[in-house]
Amino acid sequence: MNDTAPFKITDELVAEHGLSGEEYKTLLEILAREPSLTELGIFSVMWSEHCSYKSSRFWLKTLPTTGPQVIQGPGENAGIVDLGDGYACVFKMESHNHPSYIEPYQGAATGVGGIMRDVFTMGARPVANLNALRFGAPDHPKTKHLVSGVVAGIGGYGNCVGVPTVGGEVNFDAGYNNNILVNAMCVGLARTDKIFYSAAKGVGHPVVYVGSKTGRDGIHGATMASAEFDDKSDEKRPTVQVGDPFTEKLLIEACLELMASDAIIAIQDMGAAGLTSSTAEMADKGGVGIALDLDKVPQRETNMTAYEMMLSESQERMLIVLKPGSEHEAETIFRKWDLDFAVIGKTTDTGRMIVTHKGNVEADLPVTVLANSAPMYERPWEATVPPQPILPEWVKAPDNGVLGGLKTLLASHHLASRRWVWEQYDHMVMGDTIVHPGADAAVVRVHGTDKGIAATCDVTPRYVTADPTMGTKQAVVETWRNLTAVGADPLAITDNMNFANPERPPIMGQFVGSCQGIAEACHVLEFPVVSGNVSLYNETNGIGIPPTPAIGAVGLIPDTKYVSDHALKRDGDVLIVIGAENGWLGQTVYQDIFAEKLEGAPPPVDLGDELKAGRLVRSLIREQVTSAVHDVSDGGLLVAIAEMALAGDKGVELFPYEGRQPTHAIWFGEDQGRYVISVQAEDAERILERSRLLDLPARLVARMSGDDALTLTNEGSVPLTELRQVHESWLPELMANP
């Protein structure tokens, strides 16, 4: 494409830029003239779904985003919560779904790189990474290739940068066959008095480009992320961005070094839509104009046009507005780290973004309009009608008995161990990981202190599909429970809303329902949303993904002495299940595996009971009464107990259930709001009583048997080694052959 050659903006060109005819008309009205090609490119990325949130903004505004712990809610590069004593936790989750489907290694790697930049741009050192991954059916021909590429890419990037990857989730479902999801989350640690924002306040300040050189990577990446796939996309293969984690590591160190000084007015990573959105947003937030001289931009390729430079998504680049006079100090730091450094413009009082290249003005646009004129759509939506609940009796008992059923479930694609994944991630680097992958939430220490940050991510798309509001409420609550189970005070969440085409009312209805679920849960749990990301159009040939609002959450461990995990460890302990047991089998893993279908309503969430149970469990942990805690989620009670036994390599004897529900429904039902705790036998009665006083059912469910098997009276016994074998071997075996 050539900027200087005369050209005509045709309907095709407009459509290629992902703008509707309506939108282009609005653009003409705003400018009162035809845009240049560069200007068209700039608007197309600013107005893309990815940058503008045009379909989702209306509903995102309804989410609770405040609370005494919140330092920064949505709207900046990442959200920030207070950890006390001058520490702040900076975190966000972001999707790299389409790029990872096209090139799994680089797509996932650059997703990790991008989310880390969002975090360290605010002054935080990244201290933990997580990832939520959804792949197609295990036997789909593309699945293994995608799993191995994505996992290698996440590890390749995070390991090299030296940030531990401590948690996440992996699901397999045919609904993701042609649209996998790769959501990466980064958690950073900052000092509250050293937080950096993106507002480029003040006129005449140098605008500085640092990091890697600009190439023609991912041009149109931002619009690609918002466009539906079709069968041709396998061939189309747009320019893929390649990540350079080594440069990212240097960039982190250099930025943090510069941040320790007093030189920075504003800083922002160049993410989707690179130079365009970073300059527009920084100038708009600062209330200034900006003049850019593209001749100064460090370039990797020859003959790059203004259009290409403004739209390039080359990785590992940052934009900084410096206090005048500090250029030399800054340049010294970036040179020391062997990074490119160039003053490419300055802030102005014109209120315009003026881009010049080779002596020509390639774009001259009003900043506020550019940053704020994106359309906002209140798209028509149709609410999902949730199915009626089913009775536990309607789902048959396992043919192979309760213990056989347990083995089947532990070896299923839903529940099999993800060790094969997380052993490819360095989860210990930085020397502060105290609860490792495999637990309910991971915990990293606040370096040099006794505080800890707990982090987790979760969503159960089968629940959300059946009932978006209830299912999403459940996702929020499950992260809250995961944090509680390791002894943390839940602080806040980030969300990554992955949905299909919002222009279809039923899909938009899923999105709306999900937002309502988040809003309700966050409001009651005082667990606000501080950052997030929306990924729409995850569909191919009209077949969309299951609605997947991934929730990432962080909590504070005030003193790491009180950290808990789920490994049984104290001989002689008994196990108590806290929370109501109704044997809920609708939409469960059990139903999917044994009835080979999913039906009925998903398990309901009672936020009031969740609060009570969570508070009780947290006090028991802090009183050091418990020696292990696990929340009950996928697969139900027996799976939870088996996981505790396996983690600690300690056998248990289960007490027979004597209530009215079918036994298999009690062992495998997914009733919400439950925890299993391990306590000394002499404390049991007191704890049961304390729970009942809160109106929370509680039951003695098992005791440590002192042997190495899981035993159920009247059913027999299964050695832990056998359970471990089936649980651990599914994924390695799947991946063993290409």
């Binding site: 090139e103 290694y105 890697s212 023609r216 293969r237 893929v240 390649v242 080594f246 990797r300 062997d338």
Partner: protein, 81 residues
């Protein structure tokens, strides 16, 4: 037959390895070095003796496994043993 296959990054695709090698060569005192690019070199011995068939076989291997066609190109030579 022996196939000697070169796999290189497509033009314009960032090559972090090449960049780092170029930098290291500079630091070692080599001057006038530029455009360092790193790729892979793979040797495969084939049972196939017919040149045209071997050619087709290697092409298929490259496209299906050896090269990542999204970012890489390949070229090869064949040699009778």
């Amino acid at each position: 037959m022996k196939a000697r296959i070169k796999i290189t990054l497509k033009a314009g695709v960032l090559d972090p390895q090449g960049k780092a090698i170029e930098h290291a060569l500079g630091a070692l005192g080599f001057s006038g070095i530029k455009d360092v690019r790193q790729g892979k070199y793979i040797e495969v011995t084939l049972a196939e003796t017919d040149e045209a068939k071997a050619q087709a076989q290697v092409e298929k291997m490259c496209e299906e496994l050896l090269a990542n066609m999204v970012i890489e190109n390949y070229s090869f030579t064949l040699e009778k043993d």
